[in-house]
């Protein structure tokens, strides 16, 4: 199971980085979303990967999984959701103003 989790985190990060380096806003946003998925799984795994153990007190539990990363990942998911939504809105605004969704500023060096 560790192998599965680790390789899926790695795969999503790689895809995310590849997409992020594109020159259009849409792939960049998808790439950022992929990276934040990878990040969420990573946070989840930071409490050690265990199966079938309860995170909260229970009478017949022999061991527990760490509840804190689950709380952290919830915060991270909410925040990355909100941030992505803001990015989409700003990107849409830029698209309607500029007429294209190229990510680079025109005449960047020359202003």
């Amino acid at each position: 199971m560790e192998l599965l989790v680790a390789s899926s985190i790695g795969m999503m990060t790689a895809v995310g980085i590849f997409l992020m380096l594109r020159l259009r806003t849409f792939p960049v946003i998808v790439g950022l979303t992929m990276i934040s998925y990878a990040c969420n799984v990573f946070i989840f795994a930071s409490g050690r990967v265990v199966a079938g153990l309860p995170p909260i007190l229970s009478k017949d539990a022999t061991a527990y999984s760490d509840p804190l990363p689950q709380a952290l990942v919830l915060t991270a998911i909410v925040i990355s959701f909100g941030m992505t939504a803001v990015l989409v809105m700003i990107a849409l605004g830029a698209f309607f103003e500029a007429g294209d969704d190229r990510i680079d500023l025109d005449e960047e060096g020359a202003e």
Partner: protein, 501 residues
């Protein structure tokens, strides 16, 4: 006992921001009054907290009364109180400028976003928990996204997309770093980290180094350290003038986080990491100095010139931070105070010029309204920013050079002095083109409203710089105690009452 006052800098802007958003969004005059009054009260609270922190030492505020490290704590100490006061002062002055120039009328939610921005900044300065630091970073970022694109426009929105995307990557890195730290130590409370990291098992040293470097990269993005500074020039040049001026304190959030975490949790005598972070910061800071100096020299618009001057000042600041000695940290704090005010003043002046010229390219153009006053203020602010006597920039750089020790002495001295020279040259060239060459053109300047409040705001920032220069003795003495407290964090850790003592 400062007790509940510690949370006031977070709660007050949060309430006022929500209130402004829901109730006052259609009444500009009331929104201006309420928001400015709230920022003034915030400044008063910050000064009271500063007084308390310097008399009673660090104090923790346990949210929900949960004991650390299980609950979230805010910790008030000299550094956090100082930074909150600095942010509140800058915000108040710049807010007056935004009102005086009518910037805040160009969109409906300026004051609400302004308050949320302050909430995030104050929270980031006060929190004693690394994950909570991330949350406050996000609060200040999401407000800054709104402020950055305030007023709209094609170029601003495009620069906004870059800014948001860059910071989203930064946030992801922050989370990855925090998760790694948690998986190694099982805690994210900063004081608890400081207590646990020295006894880390050998096998986890590599992980903690990776996590430390990831966090350092996040703070380097915020603090505009090369090579992670690339978002700054476009953002600062495109953002509305008053917003860029407030962002002058945002780069200091990055510097603050480095000073806080890397003196508390990752000091140079930590066996797992050693001087790794100090070396990385120093190298990046020296390159930042060069890039910033050359950027100032090569900039073709006033906005970019000032933005690169801000990059240079962050380079200077991080050169001092990287040495991690009490003397150098005290010098860094003095320079941070100075460079925040100086950068704020310069961004406001650049905005005044932009409003009167219609564009901010560094080319000869007819004279502008209120040219004499703006030119005089620009010269004073440029002298301060470049670090020439008699203003506080000179003192700040002198303190930094004086505190420098070790094998890198010659490189640091030449780097700081050479970059100062480039900045002086860049500002002299810009000032000559903007204000001198226009006299050749005898057409009368296009009329422009005098906007007295805007000049009062710039004047207040300059007065702050003069005050910082005149009161350099008491200020540096206070900062020396602050730095000593940072490098001997026993009191800070004890304030967290770990293990329920």
């Amino acid at each position: 006992m400062m007790s509940h006052w510690i949370i006031a800098p977070v709660v007050l802007p949060a309430i006022i921001g929500a209130f402004t958003l829901l109730v006052l969004r259609n009444t500009l005059v009331t929104a201006r009054t309420v928001s400015t009054a709230a920022t003034a009260i915030l400044l008063a609270i910050a000064l009271y907290l500063m007084w308390g922190a310097s008399h009673e030492g660090p104090e923790a505020y346990f949210l929900g009364n949960w004991p650390a490290p299980f609950g979230i704590v805010l910790v008030l100490d000299r550094l956090s109180a100082l930074m909150v006061a600095l942010a509140a002062f800058l915000a108040l002055v710049v807010q007056l400028y935004a009102i005086g120039t009518g910037w805040d009328a160009k969109g409906r939610h300026f004051h609400a976003l302004w308050q949320f921005q302050l909430m995030g900044i104050c929270g980031a300065f006060l929190t004693g928990d690394a994950f909570n630091l991330f949350v406050f970073f996000e609060v200040l970022l999401i407000a800054s996204y709104g402020l950055m694109i305030h007023g709209g426009g094609r170029d601003r929105l495009k620069a906004g997309v870059q800014y948001v995307a860059y910071n989203l990557v930064g946030s992801t890195l922050f989370l990855l770093g925090l998760a790694t730290i948690y998986s190694v130590t099982g805690t994210l409370n900063m004081a608890d980290l400081a207590a646990k990291l020295p006894s880390l098992p050998e096998g986890d040293a590599a992980l903690i180094r990776v996590a430390g470097v990831m966090l350092l990269m996040v703070f380097a993005i915020k603090g505009a350290l090369v090579p992670l500074h690339t978002w700054l020039p476009a953002t600062y040049a495109q953002a509305p003038g008053p917003v860029s001026a407030l962002f002058a304190v945002m780069t200091k959030v990055g510097a603050y986080a480095v000073i806080r975490l890397y003196t508390l949790a990752f000091p140079a005598d930590l066996p797992a990491t050693g001087p790794l972070f100090a070396d990385l910061i120093l190298a990046a800071a020296l390159i930042t100095l060069a890039v910033g100096g050359l950027g100032v020299l090569g900039a073709r618009s006033l906005g970019r010139l000032v933005a690169f001057a801000a990059v240079t000042s962050m380079g200077t600041l991080f050169v001092a931070v990287a040495q991690f000695t009490p003397e150098a940290t005290a010098a860094a704090l003095y320079y941070a105070l100075h460079s925040t005010l100086a950068a704020g003043a310069l961004f406001l002046l650049a905005d005044l010029v932009l409003a009167r010229r219609g564009q901010d390219r560094l080319t000869a153009a007819p004279r502008i309204a209120q040219q004499g006053l703006i030119a005089g203020l620009f010269m004073a602010a440029a002298i301060a920013a470049a670090g020439m006597p008699p203003l506080s920039g000179f003192l700040g750089k002198l303190l930094i050079l004086d505190a420098t020790r070790g094998p890198w002495l010659a490189v640091i001295w030449s780097g700081v002095l050479a970059s100062s020279f480039l900045v002086i040259l860049g500002f002299a060239k810009a000032g000559a083109v903007l204000f001198w060459k226009s006299h050749a053109d005898t057409t009368p300047p296009a009329p422009h409203a005098p906007q007295p409040l805007a000049f009062v705001a710039v004047g207040a920032l300059m007065a702050g710089l003069v005050g910082l220069t005149l009161a350099a003795g008491p200020v540096t003495a206070w900062l020396a105690t602050t730095a000593a407290e940072l490098h001997d964090p026993a009191a800070y850790i004890a304030a967290n009452k770990l293990g329920g003592q």
